[in-house]
């Protein structure tokens, strides 16, 4: 338990620092890479919780696919340097208000429920395995699962249609 705690504190510190560095960095490529670093740290946290499937999916989907596309777009457009004049002025106060609201909500929930301990202890070893997740997805959550997949398909077709129209107008 103590080793887990030390590992958790170290990883949590790294994750928070990477997140702060991502926001504070003036260079968008660095920001993207700090976000990747943050995703990898969070994936390790999932591993600590015996959720290997979620950890691996986190790396494959977020670090491996989405952030690669982010980097691709940043490099292709050549927008590495953030322009100083283009900052939105009302962004900072709004961010402070929203952040405080989130912290307040978290504190309220924690104070009301107390810190729940030993949650992971009463879970079976099968919990979170690919087989059990697949079984639940295709039985209990079948309808939401299929609706999500149709939604993603529609979004994908929409993106393709929009680029086709642009290309025709370009010619």
């Amino acid at each position: 338990m103590t080793i887990d705690l030390v590992l958790f504190l170290g990883l949590a510190l790294i994750a928070v620092l990477a997140a702060i560095a991502m926001i504070a960095s003036r260079n968008t490529v660095y920001s993207a890479l700090f976000l990747v670093f943050n995703f990898l740290t969070v994936a390790t946290l999932y591993l600590l919780l015996n959720a290997a499937f979620i950890a691996v999916v986190q790396i494959t989907v977020y670090a491996g696919a989405i952030m690669v596309l982010f980097l691709f777009v940043i490099m292709l457009l050549g927008t590495e340097r953030e322009s100083i004049g283009g900052r939105i002025r009302w962004q900072m106060p709004l961010a402070i208000v929203l952040g405080l609201a989130l912290a307040g909500e978290l504190a309220y929930v924690l104070l009301r429920n107390g810190i729940v301990q030993g949650l992971a202890a009463d879970l079976s070893t099968e919990f979170g395995s690919p087989a059990s997740i697949g079984r639940v997805l295709f039985s209990e959550y079948l309808v939401p699962f299929e609706v999500t997949s149709i939604l993603l398909l529609v979004a994908m077709i929409g993106a393709i249609v929009i680029t086709r129209k642009l290309r025709r107008e370009g010619k």
Binding site: L40, V56, T60, P130
Partner: protein
């Protein structure tokens, strides 16, 4: 966790890394000799008997090369990129078992680090998906338009072919009914999956060659168009690290192909002499590596748009078709 167990894991990890490092050194020699034979040349044979010391000579030469950092480069990422490129090639073999379980001095040992985890195949895909970062960062940090073009190309190429790679894995997963690499090898005891999944094996080979940027899919470093692509500005040991990553990935892909489709360490008389397992695996891996070199000697490079069209319009639908066919047959025959 006992110290003995920890020591066992450290030794196993060191062995896996040594396989890649030692394999890298001699794979370069193997490739040059085989390529030379195919082009009716002799190849490097001066350093040591049959040129066996050539990798050592190459290494010493690279160490004494001057290390240049271009003025336009982003220094931190420029130095970091080769390191990031090497890491995935070194860790991807962690889920591949090198042999069956053996009992030595009253204890059971497995030749592998984590071959029994239930997300083994997904681990391979996860590591493959982050392997692109080193190349992208190198291309961007060099501050050179050819290097950047190489980085951008490799991003598009690797993201595209990852899908086909993942779909090729679905066949063995469905047949074995598990994502654990151990279970997939166990399922091939009687018949290798390459016979049940010929289309899947073909898709895997094509997608893997694209994923590791080997000829005929070596667009990110196409010499005639991009000088040397993403590593155009690198020299000395930093260049050697890119070289190592490329050959390490070749070895890793051969291990994965041998394990997923060619029965891994399985072979005749394995139950009597379990130590034959690593030898069988080694033979299969060398055969696959020979195939990769042969491919490079035979095919010219694809054009970039042809590569993308091939990946999305032919390989991906074929992969989906393979999954559907496999599913229908499993339902009809009953696994």
């Amino acid at each position: 966790m006992s110290w003995a167990l920890l020591l066992e894991w450290v030794i196993k990890s060191a062995v896996i890394i040594m396989i890649i490092l030692g394999g890298f050194a001699y794979l370069t020699l193997f490739e040059r000799r085989v390529l030379a034979r195919m082009q009716t040349r002799i190849g490097p044979n001066r350093a040591g008997p049959w040129g066996l010391l050539q990798p050592v000579a190459d290494g010493i030469k690279l160490i004494f090369n001057e290390e240049l950092i271009p003025e336009q480069a982003d220094r931190v990422l420029f130095i970091l990129a080769p390191v990031i490129t090497v890491v995935p090639a070194l860790i991807i073999l962690a889920v591949i078992p090198l042999g069956p379980e053996v009992t030595l001095f009253g204890r059971r040992y497995v030749f592998g680090l984590a071959s029994n985890i239930n997300v083994g195949v997904l681990y391979i895909l996860a590591v493959a998906s982050i392997a692109v970062y080193g190349i992208v960062i190198a291309g961007w940090a060099s501050g050179n338009k050819y290097a950047l073009m190489g980085g951008v190309r490799s991003t598009a190429q690797m993201v595209s072919y990852e899908l086909a790679l993942a779909l090729a894995f679905v066949g063995p997963i469905m047949l074995a009914g598990s994502m654990s690499v151990d279970a997939i090898i166990e399922g091939q005891t009687h018949l290798w999956y390459v016979i049940l999944q010929p289309l899947g094996f073909l898709i895997f080979l094509i997608a893997a060659v694209a994923e590791i940027n080997r000829a005929p899919f070596d667009m990110p470093e196409a010499e005639q168009e991009l000088v040397a692509g993403y590593h155009a500005e690198y020299s000395g040991m930093k260049f050697a690290l890119f070289f190592m990553a490329e050959y390490g990935k070749m070895i890793a892909v051969s291990f994965i192909a041998a394990t997923m489709f060619l029965g891994g360490y399985l072979g005749p008389f394995l139950d009597r002499w379990p130590l034959l397992g690593p030898i069988y695996l080694f033979i299969k891996v060398v055969a696959l590596l020979f195939f990769l070199v042969w491919l490079r000697a035979t095919f010219p490079r694809f054009r970039y748009d042809q590569l993308m069209a091939f990946g999305w319009k032919i390989l991906l639908p074929l992969g989906l078709l393979n999954v559907v066919i496999t599913g229908v047959i499993i339902v009809l025959v009953g696994g």
